[in-house]
């Protein structure tokens, strides 16, 4: 899925007028406004399930890239309200009670990989290494199987735009949480540089590099979507006050 997205971005940079959107596309537009987008994932069942670590390992090795993307990068679209940072780690912790492995998998940043193939390889290395040291973890209870899913994704304008930092701050306060997910999390798999749509726009269009830098320092894995919203608001309010003070 991320590969497809990169291709689409390039293609649309050639035809920017068809794509009012967040930063990667609007950078190519004459209108430098930030267009907020919403995103919705509708779940599809792949028919694959796992009852044990071995079955999960083998499934991770063979499921589609869309499926892998769904359980790792898209995990945060569910609000990131649980303890771990991907569906695999969450299940391994709650249903197999393998805390060490769950911790190891939770520390993987899925957005830092250049492809789903590389991410898959890393997950398998970590699991294989764990199985070597702890060969027989228990299986899940009959009602607690892990089901491998993928998503059909809809991305569409939220009907909100910001032309400057003040408008951006107002918009952040009331956009749907899916906009936060799309621009703060999903953007990382599009931009691939450890950055997100918000800080990129604030840096390049808003000309506020210090605010952008502080936004980039917000840990996406340790905050749920509403915490992210609060942190962005705090950073913007402080940053705007500071800039106004410097100007005045």
């Amino acid at each position: 899925m991320p590969q497809t997205k990169i291709k689409q971005t390039k293609k649309n940079q050639a035809k920017p007028k068809h794509r009012p959107s967040g930063i990667p596309k609007c950078a190519a537009l004459k209108d430098k406004s930030f267009y907020f987008m919403d995103i919705v994932n509708v779940i599809k069942h792949t028919g694959t399930k796992a009852m044990s670590l071995k079955e999960m390992r083998d499934a991770i090795a063979s499921v589609s890239k869309d499926c892998l993307f769904h359980h790792t990068c898209q995990y945060f679209s569910k609000g990131n309200i649980q303890e771990h940072t991907n569906d695999f780690a969450q299940w391994i912790y709650t249903s197999l009670e393998q805390s060490i492995l769950a911790e190891q998998l939770s520390n993987i940043d899925p957005y830092s990989f250049t492809s789903m193939t590389a991410l898959r390889k890393h997950f398998l290395e970590v699991i294989d290494n764990y199985i070597e040291n702890f060969p027989e973890p228990r299986v899940a209870l009959p009602d607690e199987a892990f089901f491998f899913n993928e998503a059909v994704t809809f991305i569409f304008p939220a009907g909100v735009k910001a032309r400057n930092l003040a408008e951006f701050l107002m918009a952040i306060k009331f956009v749907d949480s899916s906009s936060l997910y799309y621009h703060f999390y999903e953007a990382r798999s599009r931009l691939r540089k450890g950055t997100d749509d918000f800080s990129k726009w604030i840096d390049e269009v808003g000309k506020a590099p210090r605010i952008a830098e502080r936004l980039r320092a917000v840990d996406p894995f340790m905050n749920n979507l509403e915490n992210v919203r609060e942190k962005i608001i705090d950073i913007l309010e402080e940053g705007i006050k500071l800039e106004m003070g410097e100007m005045g």
Binding site: Q8, V42, F156
Partner: protein
């Protein structure tokens, strides 16, 4: 009207519904099931069809008719798909098919998209005229009677897509298998906001004292809902915290065991005046709403469950909930965040005591539960998902990501 949901449902759901309806404007969407009233499917369709019509979709709802032998067979199909060990004769299968053939001749099956609900009308696919056909299975077919499943599957696999409520209820049938959970309507009589006066009126009428915490379970009197287990949990709690237990349910005319279970429960609770057993008439939605709103804690301590939407109903009212870790309940209760999942009577008693002794935590989990339902289990999300299913199957070569 979709605008009635503004400020209640997530903005993204309303926006996507509007976007998809613009793209599908004027096209026809036919739903077919086997009953016009009673049951969750009919309840949702009654609300969904006018909503779609208001958005420019030519939405229709048809109901198939059958005779007693047909309904006897479909009841057996329903039970055996959920694992019961019964057989269906060739003659019964033939009659089941024949009734569907007769309905197909009577009904207008022409539509751009057709959503068939549950096994009763599944054979209608053989009489498809045009459009995309989807089969929506609301029941748990994860451990079915193989022979019955094989027969139903022979119809189901002819559909362009299949839909289940939860992955664990599903069986791989088509390559397009969607997971679309059911939903509650926040504007219906069962879930709309009530004033304190309305709640007090119901409490007074039903004789419910409000001077102590109220534990509530709303369900049919069915052994799978474990009413005796709930009473036992209440008795364990009562040693430490004074409280009232309300067990409320409606009689089910198609469930002869219900009377027996109700008698058992009444006998078991007989010597405790703080246990109130309420037998509500069918369609007591307003009373159920008020009961859920006056409760301190809502339980759904099922041993076996379908989706268990009463959990979402209580969560929508901001109530701390606990439920058995069965069926669709774990999808609604994220343990420790939006409620507690329990695995025993002791577990239920323990969690009730936790809630009663830490009202701040109970309030926090109740609020988290309400937001979780807003995000995942409101009618608008289900409408959004049905339209998404239709649009994505129609444009499957352009997917799986659609940008508008």
């Amino acid at each position: 009207m979709i605008s009635d949901y503004a400020g209640i449902s997530p903005r993204r759901d309303i926006l996507l519904i509007q976007q998809l309806c613009k793209k599908l404007k004027g096209k026809s969407f036919l739903h077919i099931n086997s009953t016009k009233e009673g049951g969750g499917v009919a309840e949702i369709l009654q609300r969904m069809i006018p909503l779609l019509q208001g958005l420019g979709i030519d939405a229709r709802w048809e109901v198939i008719n059958g005779d007693k032998p047909f309904y006897d067979t479909t009841k057996t199909i329903h039970n055996t798909l959920q694992g019961d060990n019964m057989t269906i004769s060739d003659k019964a299968w033939e009659h089941y098919y024949e009734i569907n053939r007769k309905n197909a001749a009577k009904l207008d099956l022409e539509a751009d998209a057709v959503l068939i609900h549950d096994p009763q009308p599944a054979p209608l696919i053989d009489f498809r005229k045009n459009g995309l056909w989807f089969w929506r299975c609301h029941i748990d077919v994860s451990r079915p009677n193989p022979a019955v499943f094989s027969h139903i599957n022979s119809f189901a696999k002819k559909y362009q897509a299949t839909v289940f409520s939860v992955p664990k209820f599903a069986k791989p049938i088509t390559s397009n298998e969607f997971i679309i959970p059911p939903s509650i309507d926040p504007l219906s009589e069962k879930n709309m906001d009530l004033t304190d006066e309305e709640i007090t009126e119901v409490a007074d009428r039903l004789g419910i004292p409000r001077d102590r915490p109220i534990l509530l379970q709303v369900s049919r009197f069915d052994r799978f809902k474990d009413p005796i287990g709930v009473i036992n949990a209440y008795k364990m709690v009562k040693k430490y915290n004074d409280c009232i237990l309300v067990l409320a349910g409606s009689p089910a005319s198609d469930d002869p065991e219900g009377e027996e279970v109700l008698a058992e429960v009444r006998k078991y609770a007989a010597d405790d005046k703080d246990i109130l057993i309420l037998l509500l008439p069918p369609f007591s939605d307003l009373d159920i709403n008020a009961l859920q709103r006056m409760a301190t804690i809502v339980l759904q301590k099922s041993l076996k469950e379908g989706f268990g939407l009463t959990v979402s109903e209580a969560m929508w009212k901001g109530k701390p909930v606990l439920g058995g870790a069965v069926g669709g309940i774990p999808l609604q209760i994220v343990h420790g965040l939006t409620g507690f999942l329990v695995h025993s009577v002791d577990g239920a008693a323990f969690r009730i005591r936790q809630y009663l002794n830490d009202p701040e935590m109970a309030t926090r989990m109740g609020e988290a539960g309400r937001e979780y339902v807003r995000d995942n289990f409101l009618l608008t999300r289900q409408v959004r998902d049905y339209l998404s299913l239709w649009y994505s199957v129609k444009n499957r070569k352009k997917g799986p990501t659609f940008e508008f």
